[in-house]
């Protein structure tokens, strides 16, 4: 895999660059790593709140109910109903949707249309609600005006494109 070379090479180049620039890479790293503590502490409560909601969402069966309710809409957009749980979970949790994707792999086969469309969906979108909660954890911001609707619509368009392109190829 070419992609596994990218990050190690970038790190090597960066350290060489810092040596050329006569900077102390070691102390920079230590100082930076120290700030991770604050970041985890401020974002942790938000992660807990979101994860409890996600867990309730899937265990209570709410996700399957919503999937059934939204099935007609998904049909119009050309999205297979088998992918509805994945599409509903994706805005909330990246890890959760990866688990659903693996489930799709084992049920329908890795190289099936559903699995490939699922991959394109997971690769082309992010966990909207999780990102919103964590990114704004350091501010007092509570009103996102058009932010969340725009994020959901653009992700849905990405999903439609993913289903379409996987069908064609």
């Amino acid at each position: 895999m070419i992609s596994s070379y990218i990050i190690p090479i970038l790190i090597i180049l960066l350290i060489i660059y810092s040596v050329i620039k006569r900077k102390n890479a070691y102390s920079s790293f230590v100082y930076g790593a120290k700030t991770s503590f604050d970041l985890v502490l401020t974002s942790f409560p938000y992660i807990v709140a979101i994860f409890i909601a996600i867990e309730l969402f899937s265990v209570s069966g709410l996700s399957t109910i919503m999937g059934k309710l939204l099935a007609p809409l998904f049909n119009i957009l050309g999205i297979p109903t088998e992918l509805s749980e994945l599409i509903l979970l994706k805005p909330f949790s990246g890890c959760g949707s990866l688990a659903v994707l693996e489930n799709i792999f084992s049920t329908y086969g890795v190289d099936s249309y559903l699995a490939r469309a699922g991959c394109a969906i997971v690769g082309s979108s992010e966990a909207i609600f999780y990102i919103t909660a964590v990114y704004f954890s350091g501010t007092k911001v509570k009103k996102f005006s058009y932010g969340i609707p725009v994020a959901i619509i653009s992700n849905l368009l990405g999903v439609v494109a993913a289903c379409l392109i996987c069908k064609v190829i």
Partner: protein, 207 residues
């Protein structure tokens, strides 16, 4: 966010009262446990990336990346202070390289930098949020890895569809974001002018 969370909690727990009340509370605890294990993983990732990003910062490399990306950043975010611009540049680069959670610290820093203490998100914050939620990843490394693990015959054949889907979601997101931003400022202007026109007659009457 508040409304979303409240409805999930009430509806989720409400359904469980009828079909699975025995595991209702343990589900909450499972969620919390998962959050802790994720937080630990994130901590490890943050520590490494924040360390590396600090080296980037101290060598002045982030200024160079910011300069390189500055036409795009200026177009998308308008006028921002240089510190925020640097953070946005780092965020966009790490996003494109598919570093996953590594783009979180720079995004938080950028948003904190744009914060004016108000409870309403600014246009710049929303743009950064949209860019991050629509994913800028060029190589979907995690998904390819999963496909390899599941024994796919051709794990890389999703790169192209993913790229198309990402482009669609990102471009549509940015366009909608800009349109809404304009619409919002127009509505605000109209509101101000109507308020002014309402005020003037009152003023005349007093006269």
């Amino acid at each position: 966010m508040n409304a979303v969370w409240i409805s999930f909690m009430i509806v989720g727990l409400g359904i469980m009262l009828f079909n699975n009340v025995d595991i209702a509370f343990s589900t909450i605890l499972t969620g919390s446990e998962k959050a802790i294990s994720l937080a630990l993983k994130l901590w490890a990732i943050y520590a490494v990336w924040l360390g590396i990003l600090k080296i980037v910062e101290d060598t002045g490399l982030n200024n160079k990346i910011a300069k390189l990306l500055s036409p795009i950043i200026n177009k998308l975010f308008g006028k921002t202070n240089p510190e925020v611009k640097n953070q946005i540049a780092v965020n966009l680069t790490s996003n494109m390289l598919g570093m996953g959670n590594a783009c979180t610290p720079s995004a938080i820093n950028a948003i904190n930098g744009m914060d004016k203490g108000s409870d309403v998100a600014t246009a710049g914050m929303l743009m950064l949020m949209i860019l991050n939620t629509s994913s800028l990843e060029i190589l979907p490394t995690t998904v390819i890895g999963l496909r390899v693990a599941a024994g796919s015959l051709n794990p890389n054949d999703i790169i192209f569809p993913t790229l198309i889907a990402t482009t669609v979601s990102t471009v549509s997101g940015v366009v909608m974001c800009k349109l809404c931003e304009k619409l919002k400022s127009k509505l605000k202007q109209r509101k101000n002018t109507t308020e002014l026109s309402k005020q003037t007659p009152v003023f005349k009457k007093v006269k």
